[in-house]
């Protein structure tokens, strides 16, 4: 696991309180080992995640950003994750235009009972970001195109 070899990258996760944060807790309680790169920010609902917040994280130097909420139709607030899905899908398509490789951003659904799934999501995403390596700053020219 990359994080444990001392080459941690900078990954931020925005997790909804009811499902994914609970799923991450379940993974912890079950001692499902995960890479250590990810830092989790708890939000009430994935629909609370303003796409600009994700952009802000990239601007401040994040190498990867993960948003995770409840499965569609299982939202604690009925429809928050539907809003999240629309916004984040637009964002996902827009990020390469800003010079950020598509693999650096994911959004996903994990329920509070799915500890094993959370372990897989974190591990896969961390591996994916590690495959891309550290992100160079804006203006340094990077995979998605030269934006200078």
């Amino acid at each position: 696991m990359p994080g444990m070899e001392g080459t941690e990258l900078r990954i931020i996760g925005f997790l909804c309180n009811w499902c994914s944060y609970g799923g991450a807790d379940t993974a912890g309680v079950s001692r499902f080992k995960q890479p250590t790169d990810l830092r989790i920010i708890r939000v009430p609902c994935s629909g609370r995640v303003d796409p600009l917040l994700v952009v802000k994280a990239f601007m401040e130097g994040a190498d990867g950003v993960l948003v995770s909420g409840c499965h569609p139709r299982d939202c604690h607030y009925s429809e928050g994750n539907f809003y999240a899905r629309r916004r984040l899908e637009v964002l996902k398509r827009f990020l390469p235009f800003m010079g950020i490789e598509p693999g650096r951003f994911e959004y996903t659904w994990v329920s509070a009972s799915e500890g094993a799934r959370w372990q897989k999501v974190v591990t896969d995403f961390t591996d994916q970001v590690h495959a891309l390596g550290p992100r160079r700053n804006f203006g340094e020219g990077n995979g998605g195109g030269d934006i200078r």
Binding site: G3, M4, G6, E8, R10, I12, N17, W18, C19, Y21, G22, A24, D25, A27, G28, V29, R31, F32, K33, Q34, P35, T36, R39, I40, I41, R42, V43, P44, C45, G47, R48, V49, D50, L53, K56, A57, E60, G61, A62, C70, R73, D74, C75, H76, Y77, S78, E79, G80, Y83, R87, S111, A112, S113, E114, Q119
Partner: protein
């Protein structure tokens, strides 16, 4: 601001893979932090006292505890700082256990991570403001969904406690699964004899309003003030007039209707009362089989009914009920046995399910309690039971144990030997599970006193041979293949979630697991609460369980409702959206987005229109905050500034790490 940081060792749970002391030392360097310490168990009484003391001694106005998940102890520590005189919302937790110490073994990486998590929490608290709850009235009525034994117990306990109860049941009679059973384990009590009086109590209780043959259409509102629309399905019989005399059943010419109560082992009439002890004892017409509906002419029941209760024109009716709390007790379903192809289930008439066998055993069943083979009506001389038919089977994506099958197989095996003394009974099992009081003794009794043959092993195939069936499987204790020729095979099919459990969960806004069973708030400590305040669980809708456990949960859920209703007013959570009227441009996108209709238009004295949050209705999801173009509506405790502060604090830490 003056922030105190308290890092918990949690014994070795955290300190084993995180250097808690170093985390506290590093925390002292963060902006606003004036005090930081580490402690063995911060949630213990001395641990909490230390926080209270530190708040006074160091004049703290914000507190960060780095320990377990906030889903576990956030409220504990909020109360702690409240006792120390702080506003309870000037608090944040850094989750360094579930999200850190428990998931990585590299102590150095974990410690780094923990330090950064604390730094983020500190940055967030620095942006906290005092919040104060408001109070709202509670409607002290309770809705119970499902009138099986768990729901009935919950309804009775609530009603005896003085609450008005609305009890909704999908079927035409209350009673649930238990009403189908012949006997109960391990006492071999007659099921309906102990359930019947309870059903009568429910039916006659002046505080319980029964809505049978009804389903939940939709639910809106919040704890203390739910509005529930109930669909009262058309029975085509005016229950105000029907006396349950049963004359219509005698005369009905359509006698091939599916008998749900008997699990299809016999047919019933298109107009029927589901079983003799039904409550309410009223007839319903099954339009799928009624000739008036299928052929457009018949009308026999309308002619014979002495009270003129038949109404073919009846339509579903939607009734609204206002309640303050909801108990969900929708029970379980059973695996469709046709999924078990290797057992020939569904193809061979003499391979049946446990619940069907129960109806054969039952004196009020279609055979008056005489066990017969469905194929030719003869008495079986040998019966084979197969446990874990679909349970504990990863290939069917159902790895869980169905909880009660081992016990009911033992019961049915004993009853078979009782009913047919010259019969032989075999049980193929994986393990017998009998952990409750008197259960192990009961299985022993089946084996020793009743001579039931227990064969440890799985069955690979069942096939017909002449008039009989051959069960082929392994005996893993002897290490051999076994073949048993038998007259009847009974499958203990897996308990599944109730049909349409997911749809109901979505209406209730509660979570369910991958198998459709409802999720409790905490698996150990909050077993009947859900994450939706005011919604409680009872019985097998939460997971397969036997009668005593279901009854226990029914009472537990009722006591939760009674304690919730012991106050006349409830405290509302102040972590809700707030509109900064100066910034609001009055586009009201927030009002369109809000899933709870919690935002209304408000006209200011100068004529400007702005959004206004109805405090008690807002649930605090923050959808409005992320849609607001001017950042005017902010979810308290999760404002844009607070989230940005967390991101910035983390990125600052990263930059420092890579430069230093």
């Amino acid at each position: 601001m003056r922030i105190g940081v308290f890092v918990c060792h949690c014994g070795t749970n955290i300190d084993g893979t995180v250097d808690s002391h170093q985390v506290a030392e590093e925390a002292k360097k963060f902006p606003h932090v004036v005090y930081a310490t580490d402690y063995l168990y911060t949630c213990s009484e001395p641990g909490q006292q230390e926080i209270q003391q530190a708040v006074g001694e160091h004049d703290l106005d914000g507190v960060v505890v780095a320990a377990c998940s906030p889903r576990m102890h956030e409220n504990t520590f909020r109360r702690t700082i409240e006792r120390a005189g702080l506003n309870r919302y000037m608090f944040e937790m850094a989750n360094i256990r579930e999200h850190c110490s428990w998931i990585g073994e590299d102590r150095e990486a974990n410690t780094h991570k923990a330090i950064e998590l604390v730094r983020m929490a500190v940055a967030k608290v620095a942006n906290h403001v005092h919040l104060h709850p408001s109070y709202f009235e509670v409607n002290k009525r309770v809705l119970v969904i499902g009138a099986g034994v768990a729901g009935m117990q919950a309804a009775l306990d609530c009603a005896d406690g003085g609450l008005d109860v609305v009890l909704v049941e999908k079927k035409s009679s209350i009673g649930g699964r238990m009403a189908q059973l012949d006997k109960t384990f391990p006492t071999v009590d007659c099921s309906i004899c102990i359930l019947g009086p309870k059903m009568v109590d429910v039916g006659q209780h002046e505080k319980i309003k029964l809505c049978t043959y009804s389903e939940i259409e939709d639910i809106s509102g919040y704890v203390g003030n739910y509005t529930v629309n109930i669909r009262r399905k058309a029975t085509y019989v005016d229950w105000g007039k029907c006396t349950g005399c049963g004359l219509c059943m005698e005369k009905c010419p359509s006698k091939k209707a599916y008998d749900y109560h008997n699990e299809g082992i016999a047919d019933t009439t298109a107009i029927n009362i589901s079983f003799p002890q039904a409550i309410p004892k009223k007839a319903t017409i099954d339009p799928e089989y009624c000739r008036q509906f299928t052929k457009g002419k018949c009308g026999v029941c309308a002619k014979v009914c002495p009270l003129g209760a038949i109404d073919y024109e009846m339509e579903d009716e939607i009734v609204a009920e206002e309640v303050g709390a909801i108990i969900v007790a929708t029970g379980y379903g059973l695996l469709n046995m046709e999924e078990l192809g290797e057992y020939g289930a569904g193809r061979y008439p003499d391979v049946i399910t446990g619940i069907q066998y129960e109806r054969f055993l039952n004196a009020s069943g279609p055979t008056q309690g005489h066990v017969v083979r469905p194929s030719d009506g003869e008495e079986p001389k040998r019966v084979v039971f197969i446990s874990c038919a679909g349970s504990r089977d990863a290939s069917l994506d159902r790895p869980y144990c169905s909880n009660f099958c081992c016990m009911y197989i033992a019961k049915q095996a004993i009853l078979t030997r009782d009913h047919i003394p010259d019969s032989e009974v075999y049980v193929f099992y994986m393990d017998t599970r009998s952990p409750s009081k008197g259960y192990e003794e009961f299985i022993r009794r089946a084996q020793e006193e009743y001579g039931v043959q227990y064969v440890r092993g799985r069955v690979s195939r069942i096939y017909p041979k002449g008039k009989r069936m051959v069960v082929r499987g392994a005996d893993t204790l002897l290490g051999t293949q076994v073949e048993v020729e038998t007259d009847l095979v009974v499958l203990a099919t897996a308990a599944t979630c109730a049909p349409e459990a997911e749809e109901l969960a979505e209406k209730l806004r509660i979570s369910y697991d991958e198998y459709g069973f409802y999720m409790e708030s905490h698996p150990k400590l909050r077993p009947v609460e859900t994450n939706t305040s005011g919604v409680f669980l009872a019985g097998a809708c939460q997971g397969p369980k036997d009668i005593p456990a279901a009854v226990g949960q029914g009472s537990a859920a009722a006591s939760k409702v009674l304690s919730l209703f012991s106050k006349d007013q409830l405290e509302s959570d102040p972590q809700i959206a707030q509109v900064m009227e100066l910034r609001c441009v009055g586009c009201l996108k927030c009002a369109d987005t809000c899933p709870f209709q919690a935002i209304e238009e408000k006209e200011l004295p100068d004529g400007r229109v702005v959004g206004h949050v109805i405090e008690t209705v807002c649930q605090g999801c923050g959808l409005c905050t992320s849609i607001c173009p001017s950042g005017a509506i902010q979810l308290q405790q999760c404002t844009d500034n607070q989230l940005i502060a967390e991101v910035e604090a983390l990125c600052q830490a990263w930059r420092e790490r890579s430069s230093g």
